[in-house]
Amino acid sequence: MRRRLRVLLSTGAALAVLGPLGWFWQDSLLPGTWSVMDMGYTDTGGGAPEAHAHGDGGVDLRTLTADPDRPADVSVTLIARQERFRLASGRTVDGFTLDGTSPGPTIRATVGDLVEVRLVNISVPDGVTIHWHGVDVPGAEDGVAGVTQDAVAQGAEHVYRFVADRPGTYWYHSHQHSAEQVAGGLLGALVVDPSPSPGSAADVLALVHHYGGVATVDGREGDVVVPATPGTRVRVRVVDTDNGPMWVWVGGSPFEVAAVDGTDVHEPSRVRDRALLVAAGGRADLLVTMPEDGSPVRVHLGGRTGVVLSPSGRAPAPVPRPSATVDLLSYGTPAPLGFDPDAPDRRFDYDIDRRPGFLDGRPGLWWTVDGHAYPDGPMFLVSEGDVVRMRIVNTSGERHPMHLHGHHAVVLSRDGVPATGSPWWVDSLDVADGETYEIAFVADNPGVWVDHCHNLPHAEQGLIVHLAYAGVSTPFLIGGPAGNVPE
């Protein structure tokens, strides 16, 4: 009797330990296929709780396109392959190419152009998409597998059409298995020139990407030497395509931060011996004035690579990163925003933390948004025309470059300190651990937009939610026959 009681007690104790664990485990399992529209819970941010169409009725996201009758001004075909290829530096890499190269071809347009890109998947077994990072494209053209389209299967193709309505530096990359495909090189630059062309400054693209731990600028390693005329101004378009932020500084000349994330800085001041942090996924255009005496200038990109602007081909000695920084919160001078962020229609909190638990059955320490782990996070609901204020609080122990698709937001404050410089418009905002940012934007681009961490493995680990417009629905599904895996 005692023995039987003992076994019973022991089994009970074991069940008491295993039961809750098993319950949490099974509760975390994701279905094979689901719609982002059904994920998590709706956060109306204090605005009207309008009906959120669940895949039926309302506006179908596929109808949110550029004018279908307008002919294209810029036509590009991108051929995607998974292969072993050679970088411009000569190094061989296993990864992904577009038109046989990585980075893919730079797409160049003039503001107002209708850009039409045909994406053809020759040999990427998992499928591909192209997301236009930083371009506020129409809802159907965002290139997020399972949200705005199905992944383009091997042998298939997909056409993107959008008007490049703001001059600036952008980039494009796959948003299907994005952590793997972006790291593997399925990306390229998109530059939209103003009209009329300013013409005065020489223009240098500096797209930084790590291939297998090797830092490259436009696929080249070490210093990339670019000829430059003494006394002229050179615009260096820095793109951080990696998962971490990048410090940028200039040795041998003062510089201006002319644009951030594709938006011009208002009245940028000339600075010297200061470093600028470019967020993962973010861009910065530096305007460098070449010294009259013909001496060369080095733009340091993250410490291991850089662009050397040199009239003679000679490279200057590297300089260590200055401890002083360019703080975009107070850089430049104020200008009208075009809307009143102090009278918002909706207020959202995007609190990032992490906690132990299961994600799709895998134990670990997982990211949470507003206390909910993936896929139970909030869906931020807006109506077209709303002024939206969002507070991003990061107490997760790690840095997160937050990227909202389809919109540019203006930074209002950091850690309670109001912005006093030029309007700081971002699509990729580096939020360090312990920091709080307040941002605002106008909901002027109907669609279903993901809002995620651009340290792409973090998105894979669940740091992704979405912003939905009332009445807009998407027929696409995560998983499904197309095997859509946007992260």
């Binding site: 009797m1 023995r3 074991a14 790590h210 998962n243 971490g244 993250g302 291991r304 134990p363 122990g397």
Partner: protein, 156 residues
């Protein structure tokens, strides 16, 4: 079950050794790589590729510490319910508690580097607790008092 308990406890102690070795290997690889001109920045830290082969030490440390050791500690606790090791459950709880603390410290030390020192010291506590737990579950030759105890437990 007693053997299961003992093996699990020794495995946890062994895992502490593996963890220390893996970390030292990774650190040595890092120093060697930096000596050869490697530069460590967030591009490398956040990148998904291995800049030097000894990075495997960090991966092993992460998987072992984040999943394998906690699972072993949990199994030790469950086995303790059946193993009839004197104070076996108490020791299993001590091990599990120290392991939970260790994992939390591990995830927090990028935030508060000082916790790295506590993480290192606590590793030795995990080792000691696991080792002592294992010792409690030694299989002894049947002696008079064991026979008496076994008889007393026989169902009537």
């Amino acid at each position: 079950m007693r053997t299961t308990y003992r093996v699990l406890a020794y495995l946890i102690a062994l895992e502490v050794v593996v963890q220390a070795a893996a970390l030292a290997l990774a650190f040595a690889g890092l120093v060697h790589w930096v000596d050869g001109g490697g530069v460590l920045d967030s591009g490398v830290v956040e990148g998904d590729s291995d800049p030097f082969p000894e990075v495997i030490g960090l991966i092993v440390h992460g998987i072992n510490g984040g999943i394998v050791v906690p699972v072993l500690a949990l199994l030790l606790l469950i086995s303790s319910f059946f193993a009839r090791v004197p104070r076996g459950t108490v020791w299993a709880l001590v091990v599990l508690g120290l392991v939970v603390l260790q994992v939390m410290l591990g995830y927090s030390l990028a935030d508060v580097p000082g916790l790295g020192a506590v993480h290192g010291a606590n590793a030795l506590l995990v080792f000691t607790a696991a080792f002592l737990a294992a010792r409690r579950a030694r299989v002894r030759r049947p002696a008079a008092d064991d026979v008496a105890a076994a008889t007393a437990d026989t169902p009537v």
